[in-house]
Symmetry: C2
Subunit: 500 residues, 2 copies
Amino acid sequence: MTQDTQLEPLFSFDPHTGRRVYDPVAQTTSAELAATVERAALADATWAQTPRRQRASCLEAIAAALDAAAPGLVDTAMAESGLPSARLTGEVSRTTGQLRMFADVIRDGGYLGAIICPHDAARNQPDVRRVLRPIGPVGVFSASNFPFAFSVAGGDTASALAAGSAVVVKAHEGHPRTSAQVAAVVRQALHDAGAPTDILQVVYGKSAGSELVRHPAIRAVGFTGSLAGGRALFDIASGRPDPIPFFGELGSINPVVVLPSAAQLRRTELADGYAASLTLGSGQFCTNPGVIFVPDDAALLTAIADAVGATTVGPLLTERIHDGFQAAVTDEVWASLPLLASGTSDGAWSVPAQIRRASLDQFHSARDILTEERFGPAGLVVTYSDASQLLPVLTQLPGSLTASVHAEDGDAELAAPIAEALSAKVGRLIWNGWPTGVAVSWAMHHGGPWPASTAASHTSVGATAIARWLRPIAYQDWPQSLLPEELLDDNPTGVLQLRR
Amino acid sequence: MTQDTQLEPLFSFDPHTGRRVYDPVAQTTSAELAATVERAALADATWAQTPRRQRASCLEAIAAALDAAAPGLVDTAMAESGLPSARLTGEVSRTTGQLRMFADVIRDGGYLGAIICPHDAARNQPDVRRVLRPIGPVGVFSASNFPFAFSVAGGDTASALAAGSAVVVKAHEGHPRTSAQVAAVVRQALHDAGAPTDILQVVYGKSAGSELVRHPAIRAVGFTGSLAGGRALFDIASGRPDPIPFFGELGSINPVVVLPSAAQLRRTELADGYAASLTLGSGQFCTNPGVIFVPDDAALLTAIADAVGATTVGPLLTERIHDGFQAAVTDEVWASLPLLASGTSDGAWSVPAQIRRASLDQFHSARDILTEERFGPAGLVVTYSDASQLLPVLTQLPGSLTASVHAEDGDAELAAPIAEALSAKVGRLIWNGWPTGVAVSWAMHHGGPWPASTAASHTSVGATAIARWLRPIAYQDWPQSLLPEELLDDNPTGVLQLRR
């Protein structure tokens, strides 16, 4: 393989020290990118025709291999991400849990949306049978903040492999070595399971990423990352001679509304819960609570300030994220608001948590700036004196992944209209809980109106995440001998068939 | 209402004579467009919260009103489109059939994709419940060739109203008066049914169309029309500060493959069927068979030439379509191919059907030009001498709405790989039939890989067309008192709830 001398190798850094660790990983050249995608496309054709039960077994084999390799993978990810061992160990379990969930999803087969309309002579209708089929090779962009669960073998990859698509992953610059190790484990597991190893590929570097989105063989893209980066790639995908869907999860401020009775009855619990959610993973969650609306109550504000003041956060994931956070919290509008509290921090690229305070009026008048995502442990506490004034402010919020409502019996009258207003803005509503921590379950939805997602109609977590990598096909008067098995009259695999 | 003097009024023309009929309809000014969308957005909020059963009754009331008004509507559409009475009368039935089908779809409720994952203490999982909700106000672009079924009250509108969205339709310039009359019937029916009349609006003119796609309140767009027009609007939708989904159905050549045994056994039937499909609606169907692959058999080619030579086609719908067709068939590459047959025509804007002939090699070497859609009664007959050479050509075809295979027992060995190759390229496969005529049934899929559709994963016909106007929302630990009824434990409306 030739090496483009203009592309610097990718070094790994320890965020605790800012120093290099490991040998660098080479960036993928244009020629390598093209060859990689072509290998994936060849393997895709085989994989798409592999029976569902066999694909399910392969996903479980990948999960088992990752579980077995977890200790070594966690060590590498700790060195590259600065995240603690327990968190990363849990994240591997989450990752393998996702793979196993999608094995269940494709065994079940209901996701194929089979509909059968038999020939109807009276209405002069032909026999029409609809089912979903894999869309073709998929590009996936890893996230910085989940070196396992939203990376090489993360949810996008798991759902695309489940659908029957080959996947080319663009590794995140924050953890190239972890990415390479995960890929090696996955490819070995595929090989051992008798599946084509080329259905999982990893490429490195920013230029390889944009070339991936442009490559004619790629039929759809999944992305988790920043608004600016996601928008640039979305524009490439949409601007192609043949546009392809770009499923991006971009920025989100995840509003939290604390209603008066809840504030009164659960002051300490709310303050502690908020501080924990705000600083989880050094604040680097797409579901981080960026704005919290609370009653203008001195005791509550003191409790919140105390809780956040007591936090210590570890380093941010990369120097770039660190610098971006510093810029975001020195923004003029943000920095002019009174500081309610700040915590302490630990490590070279670390930043202390900080929360600032604004009135409902202040927030409303600088809404566009104050609702920008500040990726890291920064939170805005917006105080209200009259809860009835919340509604017009909430209806003006930008799209978010989540909104949370804290309420008790005394808040019942307020809760309904506030929930309705928030439901128009988000993809997930949480009752008396915090937005960080996205359960991996069939019903989960992780997406929302722009800028939370490029496509509010799709999710990157939960069983229906597979829908991104499928397209329908209808068979008209098609012979049983040539139909996909899910559309056969005798339904040999027992999938849900809607008959009308 | 103010009138922008720069916007010429829209005249109706009789395609048989090329002369004006009716008084013109004024184009919608920028100010009117904004006011119209705002009215729709207000009504949308009410409609989205109207219970499904009530929405279903409103759709049926619209269907009944259109059926009652059919004679007058058909008269107007005949004058504006040049299409015959029987065709247009059938099209009104198709239109009201679609409205009634979507009433059934939303009463059924399975389209909401309800999934319930109850609280699982052992796995530390919260209660999560997912359902689909309406996306918000929708823009719809009418098609030229279906003044009813793909226009003001057509499938896009029916599915969006069913979903719970308000609709602003951009009327097609080919039938402004029909559009206004249909809108009046629909709005009166909504009024009589006690629904907000502003959930159905019509705007006129090209600039109103692009402003509609740009308007911040519009959350998604449906479009049926040309590749050039659709691409321009897709680019506007994707280029917004907040991109919105654009579900466009653009161009399609709908390949037909006739295998040797079928050609031998059903020569006359195939020739007649092809000529009828090619000239149906003067060839102005998105499912028109643009390319047919047949054995190089003199008797079959003669039969085809005779059948097409015997056709008389009526006028094209508009002067613009007429001029576009003339340009498309004087294209250098096209015009250099031998003319196999041409028919006769009738009316001012009419054109005779014409079919040209190419070998497999000729077709393959000029593929990009020969697979452009020529909207009207033009067909390419590609002859093959060895059926095994078809496969590499078929895998290079652009995306289409449909592909058809004509085969008999003797073709069994060839049929399977050819069907598989075609299935990668299209949204519907037809066995021993013709692509024109899209059955309105739950399982129908009308869409396909680019350029057939901007989004191969969505359909504009069939029950799942409603999915374009929905987005998911998940409720986490949400109280029963505030959940949508489809997610309640006691499931009062009896919808399909997937429990996991």
